[in-house]
């Protein structure tokens, strides 16, 4: 009897245990087999971290002669934040923040620590590495640091319109920063990995991804730091001397098309954008503001005349100080050089009648025919590339306008104005690039501000650019060059360092406001070159100055700035005087 009872109880216990075991087995089967994918996904979601590894934005270098020097760098800075709910020593935080990062704290940062219903309050931004380390050493609970990167400009305002800046989203604006944004930005990397609670990446797991970021290119500009500085100084001094407010200057190497300096005033400091009061200061007017350059274009007219065999420097015409084209009478700005005079004389005195005569002789001798218009258009637009965007690696380049002969406004009157620099809109860069082709033997080099890239510490040259050879013959180039030297020596060579071949031409143009010429404001321009006697010029300089309500003249106001830059360039390039 007793044995039977025990046996039944044991059997019952066994059945109960089996039942419990069965429940466990079924539950485990459900969790581990049926819900397997779901739980694996949940685990992966909690354990896996996906981090974007930011690529470092490329740095920008200038040149110092042939050596790259850093112009724009990246600096690691910190945002200091607090969690008011866990802060226990607000007085200590206020004390250390004021002492270490007083210039970077938010105005009301002490009050923010009292907002205990929040968990994240930014106390200071742009805190340097050294400052952050000092704050960290205080070991105050409740403070945190977020690492960010910002652009640094050790040269301050130097070449700021060429460089541009980077906005809060990390996108380049204006200048090289915008034009080459894709190259400078690089490609972010990705890290997807199982991580522990402190976000330390662990190698366990089969789905980890680690793609390294590709940093942006380090770009080396053709801008020479010293030439840029000297150009900006000469422009600033010149504007101060004449009391003008705005001006631009451009220095190019005519042998390569490389831009050595681009200066614009007023300017700005890209590190202090909040202090910019006029957004016009952000523009690089040498490329973005087309204008009527005035008589500097006469150098293009005589070059075209020489190259087509229409004139020589000694060709003569009878100057009466006025010339009639259709229903318009065109006069000279300077009267009195009447009678039979040479084209060199006409260029020296900047006589409009001489240029219109060249245009007429390209036609039937007395009229600017359609054939003459086509010839002028071909030289101005197709060969010297006026009215074309040059494709320079800078944002905001304007194309300008050269009216073609087959357009409604492309008539004889238009072309009679174009030959002395009116009735067209061109940028300083277009003019300087075409002028470079004119004086360098006849080769048009696409202008550029990019010399190459840095590969580690090695400077790598940029790929070759567009080159158009023989836009005029080398003989025509030499003749035009000599005529431009003659034009400078006629009146403006007094300030030149002796022993060099320096040429140049003045330009004074009226200002157009709302489509109408205004009488109380003119723009002064000077375009010239310099170098060793008998050699291809080593530099081309173009200067433009203007100011509201001021009538400025190329010879009086822009030319002295050219002279300052030119004399400085002769020394800097260590050119040898002759004779």
């Amino acid at each position: 009897m007793f044995t039977s009872v025990v046996s039944n109880r044991t059997r019952l216990l066994a059945i109960l245990l089996l039942a419990v075991m069965a429940v466990f087995v079924v539950r485990l089967f459900y969790l581990q087999v049926i819900r397997h994918d779901s739980y694996v996904a949940q685990a992966a979601e909690r354990q896996t971290r996906k981090l974007d590894i930011p690529a470092q934005r490329g740095e920008i270098y200038a040149l110092e002669r042939d050596e790259p020097v850093k112009l724009v760098l990246n600096e690691t800075v910190y945002t200091v934040f607090a969690d008011p709910q866990v802060v226990t020593e607000p007085e200590a935080i206020v004390e250390v923040m004021n002492r270490v990062a007083g210039g970077n704290v938010r105005d009301n940062f002490a009050d923010l620590l009292d907002l205990t219903d929040t968990r994240y309050q930014v106390l200071a931004t742009n805190v340097s590495y050294a400052q952050a380390e000092m704050i960290k050493q205080e070991d105050i609970f409740g403070l945190g640091f977020t690492k960010t990167s910002r652009r640094v400009y050790p040269e301050g305002q130097l070449a700021s319109q060429v460089l541009g800046f980077v906005n809060a989203e990390g996108v380049g604006q204006y200048g090289v920063e915008s034009a080459l944004n894709d190259r400078l930005t690089g490609t972010d990397g990705v890290l997807r990995t199982v991580a522990d609670v402190r976000d330390v990446p662990l190698t366990i797991g089969n789905n980890n991804i680690n793609i390294a970021p590709t940093d942006g290119d380090d770009i080396v500009l053709t801008i020479d730091r010293n030439v840029q500085r000297a150009t900006e100084k000469a422009l600033a001094d010149g504007l101060k001397r004449i009391g003008a407010k705005t001006g631009s200057a451009l220095v190019m190497n005519p042998r390569t098309g490389e831009v050595m300096a681009m200066a614009n005033l007023p300017t700005y400091d890209p590190a202090n954008l909040d202090k910019v009061t006029d957004v016009a200061a952000l523009n690089n007017n040498t490329i973005s503001m087309p204008y009527e350059p005035g008589s500097v274009i006469k150098t293009f007219t005589v070059a075209a005349g020489v190259d087509t065999g229409t004139i020589t420097p000694n060709s003569t015409y009878v100057n009466t100080d006025k010339i009639v084209v259709d229903d318009r009478t065109i006069g000279n700005a300077t009267n009195g050089q009447t009678g039979e005079i040479t084209m060199q004389h006409a260029l020296n005195w900047s006589l409009n009648t001489g240029m219109v005569t060249i245009a007429q002789r390209m036609g039937n001798g007395s009229y600017i025919t359609e054939g003459a218009q086509s010839t002028i258009y071909d030289y101005f637009h197709n060969k010297f590339r006026l009215g074309h965007p040059t494709g320079i690696e800078l944002a905001g380049e304007a194309s300008g306008i050269i009216i073609a002969p087959d357009q409604a406004q492309g008539n004889a009157v238009r072309y009679s104005n174009m030959v002395f620099g009116q009735g067209m809109d061109v940028t300083m860069l277009q003019v300087a690039s075409g002028f470079s082709a004119m004086v360098n033997g006849g080769t048009y080099y696409q202008p550029t501000v990019v010399a190459g890239t840095m590969d580690g510490d090695t400077f790598v040259d940029a790929p070759a650019r567009e080159v158009r050879e023989k836009v005029i013959s080398s003989k025509s180039s030499a003749t035009a060059r000599q005529m431009v030297i003659g034009a400078r020596r006629a009146f403006y060579a007094g300030g030149d360092t002796a022993g060099y071949a320096i040429g140049g031409k003045t330009g004074t143009s009226e200002t157009i406001v709302n489509g109408q010429y205004i009488k109380d404001q003119t723009i002064a321009t000077y375009l010239g070159f310099g170098g060793e006697t008998g050699e291809i010029p080593a530099y081309v300089v173009m200067v433009e100055v203007s100011s509201p309500g001021m009538n400025l003249a190329g010879g009086e106001h822009a030319m002295p700035i050219f002279t300052d830059i030119s004399n400085w360039m002769l020394d800097y390039l260590q050119l040898q005087p002759k004779g």
């Binding site: 990246n74 590495y129 690492k147 050790p154 040269e155 301050g156 990446p201 662990l202 190698t203």
Partner: protein
């Protein structure tokens, strides 16, 4: 070549009990292991093997922490290097040089000679 026995083997068994396929040597140990002991030994072996497995498995994670530390150090040093480069660029900037005491002592050359 035939081998020769050097000694003569004499079976301790009686010839009448000897038959084919029966062990001729019967060894009986003095120490006897019961089923519990066997179970414990097997469990211990499994435990040791498990520990070895865990040690090896977590060794890689230990390297992860070491690698993470080193990467942190590299990042710190990289930040310091960048900051030093920035400082160097600031110190060698044209404006800094122009405002230096050395530059203040300089004067314009009175004349320039050119030598080829």
């Amino acid at each position: 070549m035939q081998s020769r026995r050097s000694t003569t083997y004499a079976s301790r068994r009686s010839p009448e009990r000897h038959s084919r396929n029966h062990n001729s040597v019967n060894y009986i140990s003095a120490v006897k292991l019961g089923p519990v002991t066997h179970t414990v030994i097997v469990a211990l072996m499994i435990t040791v093997l498990g520990l070895i497995y865990l040690t090896q498995a977590t060794k890689a994670i230990g390297y992860d922490y070491a690698a993470s530390d080193i990467e942190s150090q590299i990042a710190e040093l990289s930040v310091e290097k960048n900051n030093l480069e920035v400082e160097n660029a600031r110190l060698t900037a044209l404006k800094t040089i122009e405002n230096s005491s050395v530059a203040a002592e300089m004067s314009e050359p009175s004349s320039t000679d050119f030598v080829r």
